[in-house]
Symmetry: D2
Subunit: 387 residues, 4 copies
């Protein structure tokens, strides 16, 4: 098997974008629990995100969510990020919280509502131009709850039209990334429910339109790494939203529910040329409903790093040979060998050699930052999905 | 096949309890949309529920949810209900919205939190004593999000202890009904995830403890009518929470997603002696996130009534014969025959013969009630899951 | 609502292709039960299929499966079919029962095995040329059972190459129809697991390549009618394999498990212009493991007919209006109205007016055909999936 | 964390029973592929099973399946096993391959068929008395394919009656172990579909009746370790059938699909007192459709051993503390720490210290046994599920 020392170059290239909203409160329809120290504004969110990068060296950028991260001056926000050692990344639109969007946004039967939703994306592009962001990520809550409620087919045509107008507006160096999701918040049909739909639309849009694969947005039993391999083959995998799930879109810490699945996904990313490839962005999209948010994000990026290391360790030459001669158990064994390797001690050493803490979880806990924000951030309204 | 005139006696015995919370706003973690005319307090909820009964004759009682339906005087609430032609029914406890319950309620590792949750149930029993309610329905959000987060086995033992304390407090004519749910809001494990767990606990508690079957709380593919048959056989089916689902606990209008499943469930209820049986309460537990709430409830009770009529129409003698001789297609055909029968015209006639509107949906729309509440209920805070 | 008399023209145009293999024995990995009267060769299968058409007028053609339906002379088989009032239809290839295909066929790492599988398709095209069949339907069992067993990405490339060679061989008036399937017989990954994959490949092949949608081949919870709408919109829906399922690829009688789903699917077919459209072939693909096969097929085509009638009855003008004004319950109600209409009496009358039996199930039972074949077909080897 | 040297005592106590049928051919309904060297009779199966024990020290007994393992003399078979260093274990009944069982066995509506199925179990008990087996394992294929086909409730009552008759016959030192399965081969309803049903029946039978948990027999998303904890708590977990699955009852090598799930299951076994507990038997129930069978079984028992070692390494004291103070990330981290530990080198050393090969897969490959059986076992009929 490959040695860890042979994979430090690709490991050093790893960058995982953090979602600003992971630092705010989140929950379920039953309850959103607050927690001491939660940011009250986008600046505080970015300060927290910067802690993750400081202790891991893995998370150099932060994704924004509009309107949750609306600020008066994006140059101030950008400067604040840079002062904290990170940059601003992908801009995420939001067309699911305005009363007008109750029955849809870019797919709505009313052209005024559709235009409002398109205009919101134009506003997001304006933000991107100020922040220097490359990617406009579109996840749509559009769908219906009851059969017959609306015309599924007509909604696809309206979706295509709306996306075309948005796509037209993005710059030459910008990209439109269309996320798909199996269900929720719509319960009968969702307008972009699967990779096939996202692929068909982005293929129609053009070369700067890509698919975003959120690892929690599939039907039970779906082989996600197959989709990764397929989208890379088709040249349309734009980005990942990493998280993990047991049931639905649980948005748990990536790697927490099925570490072996994360390994297989990362193996196919590497196999298909998607690793350390600027066209395939790694992002987190998670909820820390009950656990602490900053350590939750540190744990997450470490999980991705550790599993990437395991995937890079696969002895691809031996694997090819075993596959070529139909040695089922042998080929499987070569893959498992890498998965079962405990890369943590060597990663800790390597991290230290780069001036980073060997144990980022402990280092953060010892840093006093958590105590500081819990003490200082008193009053105001804690950030959440509503703001 | 049996004729509709032969089944009017059992049909006339049908009673479906409405959930007070179905008249308040509800939604997903992404957004709760408001709607004009939404009640601001438990009195207005009951007024709305009474409209459903007025137009259908099917919904004589309303279930309460504590603390959402806390009022100063339950005798006033009871009188208000009676004045509107309905009664108060099951009391539902709530141990999922207090900050102390973040990591559990009756299963929490801290005995103080457990006692607080037990005390809440004692308070619910106090309400029951005032309202004259028979059933204390317990649905627990208890569970964990991450493997290792807590001790699954110890939580079962604590659950058993807490339930025993609550059970001890209910009166001789009262019942404890324990609901189970596959997942949500917990995403790794749920403390009462399946009928087996609810059955094991209620069997240990005693004769006045029963299982509540919510039709939306099962794993994908679960044969729910089998569970109905099994629980009736074991003498432990206490009540239904009716609703429907495509994916998770979608809480859609009962019968909207899979009418044939509702038919099969009702057929097994009748087959097993659970229909018009005081020991098996029919309740709705639904969310009307985007549709109008009062007509949503009217549609729901009509769906149950129509499907009950179909299930009552099954030619059970012919079915027995076909089953006994292994006539697979014949037996299935007899069941389908009843399902495909359009009972709606005859039900409309029968309804009219009882002084009820033939088309309750139209009658409600024409009644002016909706316009009235939309005009009158201005100001105040619309009721929702938070209140 | 539309009246049945208004839809007799589209109903009269309905044609559902029967699978020859539905008349042979089938089962599970645990057991294939035999049954008296089962055909011993392709001629007897076609005789049985002709009975379905004779009693329903719905099933004018029979699909063949090669090598299960290999005969010395296809002109003889064709004449036999025509003498019995039916024709020969789609040709289905089989690359899952030869020892060489243990680890794959058109995706196999060994070019010799791939060529063998391609050659088999060439042989199928030869049969098509003799039978006058238009469609070559390809369902592949290709996949792997263990992670690492083979290279998922390379298999996609080999799949594309093999399909291109087969596509090149089909005639100008012939079509290649590529079926997808979620899982089974492969358990880790399947090479054509979803509509997206089938769409990506057939789009790359050209205008005469289409997707086949088998209603039993999806992940739990998948909204199949959405895929129907999407594929029709993309111009790539080539054919249906109808059947029904509760769990996996159960291959039960179409409409038996979820009649409302069948209704929704047929509604979207009609809505999207796919009904009575020569480009969208209706076929059955079912197993009659325990029920009688000929009545099982009669029941199946009747289910499709009855549900088509209901879908044609939808008041599309009223529906459009309700959808346009966001009347969620109203729009849903219009759809349900058609679904709940009992079309069976009117269909029976209409059938009789066309010289067909009002009750085809009874007519077949009374015809004496079943008794005849049970008495006559003694000796020989009953047809099954192995032959 | 605990050190491997601290857990060698429990590790040394591990015993995993092998299924005789894993050494015969198996497959799917589409095809059973043969393989060189496959046993032709029960004696050869036991010889092969003995190889697994020889190289791992983990598999001292072999389960039999009647009638697949019918022999003239069980004392000869027993002696053959002992000569090869293994013993005979659990006896599995089979009521799914006789034509009489097409519509059910112990639940059949015909009392003659039920008696035949009961008699088969009596015959199995006779075998047990000869082999000295303790456990009679009952898995039933009973169920229906279509709603209405038979009376679900009546079948439960017949099931209870039949089981009572069988239970009455087992000896004081014998046990009846009732397996449950979600679906397959029945596709509408299964008579013992879930742990609740198996629990209700075995609780009614008595103290020598237990539940068998097959890790592949659950609905998608089911938390299996919860069931383990619950059944241990209820004193009813009799045995495991280990295997793994991605979709349905795939019967893949245990640990191959979701190693972390296997870890969690084993952790709950240990936590609940089920490990190295004679009341909880560890068995494999797998299919090696495409991979070599003897190495497939070696890989399987090693997977169980390795994952048991990881589960034993959990620092339970630290875990308790983290759980008690609600440290979600800390508690989860302690569990993951054990899971991510690479126990393989230490296990190899320990194995060698006990006179076993460090790498059993390599040792078997080098032993020449596979070549020997492939050369010798020519002619005859390879064993499979039919024999």
């Amino acid at each position: 098997m490959t040695d860890l020392t042979d994979i430090t170059t690709p490991l050093a290239a790893q960058a995982i974008e953090l979602p600003s909203w992971a630092f705010g409160n989140s929950g379920t329809r039953f309850k959103v629990f607050g927690s001491p120290g939660t940011p009250r504004d986008p600046f505080e969110k970015i300060s927290d995100a910067a802690q993750v990068h400081k202790h891991t060296g893995l998370a150099p950028t932060v994704a924004l969510h509009i309107p949750w991260d609306l600020v008066d001056s994006y140059s101030d926000l950008r400067k604040h990020a840079e002062d904290n050692g990170v940059g601003l990344g992908t801009v995420n639109s939001n067309t699911f919280q305005d009363d007008d969007y109750k029955l849809g946004s870019v797919t709505h039967s009313d052209p005024k509502v559709r235009q409002k939703a398109i205009d919101h994306h134009f506003a997001c592009i304006d933000v991107m131009n100020e922040t220097g962001s490359r990617d406009l990520k579109i996840w749509l809550a559009d769908g219906t709850n009851y059969p017959g409620q609306d015309d599924i087919r007509a909604r696809q045509d309206r979706l295509a039209d709306s996306l075309a107008k948005i796509y037209e507006r993005i710059g030459e160096d910008q990209r439109l990334v269309l996320e798909y999701k199996f269900f929720e918040p719509a319960f009968y049909h969702t307008d972009v429910p699967d990779w096939g739909t996202s692929y068909a639309h982005t293929a129609a849009l053009g070369d700067r339109a890509f698919v975003c694969l959120d690892t929690g947005h599939h039907a039970p039993g779906t082989n996600i790494e197959f989709i990764v391999a397929q989208l890379l083959r088709l040249g349309k995998l734009g980005s990942f939203d990493f998280n993990s799930r047991f049931y639905a879109d649980d948005d748990l810490i990536v790697g927490a529910a099925d570490p072996f699945q994360l390994f297989r996904i990362l193996y196919e990313v590497i196999r298909g040329g998607g690793y350390a490839n600027p066209d395939v962005a790694f992002m987190l999209d998670q909820c820390h409903n009950i656990e602490k948010k900053i350590p939750g994000q540190i744990r997450s990026v470490l999980n991705v790093q550790e599993m990437t290391a395991r995937a890079l360790l696969v002895d691809t030459e031996a694997l090819k040979k075993a596959q070529a001669c139909g040695d089922v158990l042998g080929a499987n064994g070569i893959l498992m060998d890498a998965f079962y390797t405990d890369v943590r001690p060597a990663l800790a050493e390597w991290r230290e050699s780069r001036g980073l803490p060997g144990d980022p979880m402990k280092a953060y806990a010892a840093s006093g930052y958590q105590e500081k924000i819990e003490a200082e951030r008193v009053g105001g309204t804690q950030a959440g999905w509503g703001a």
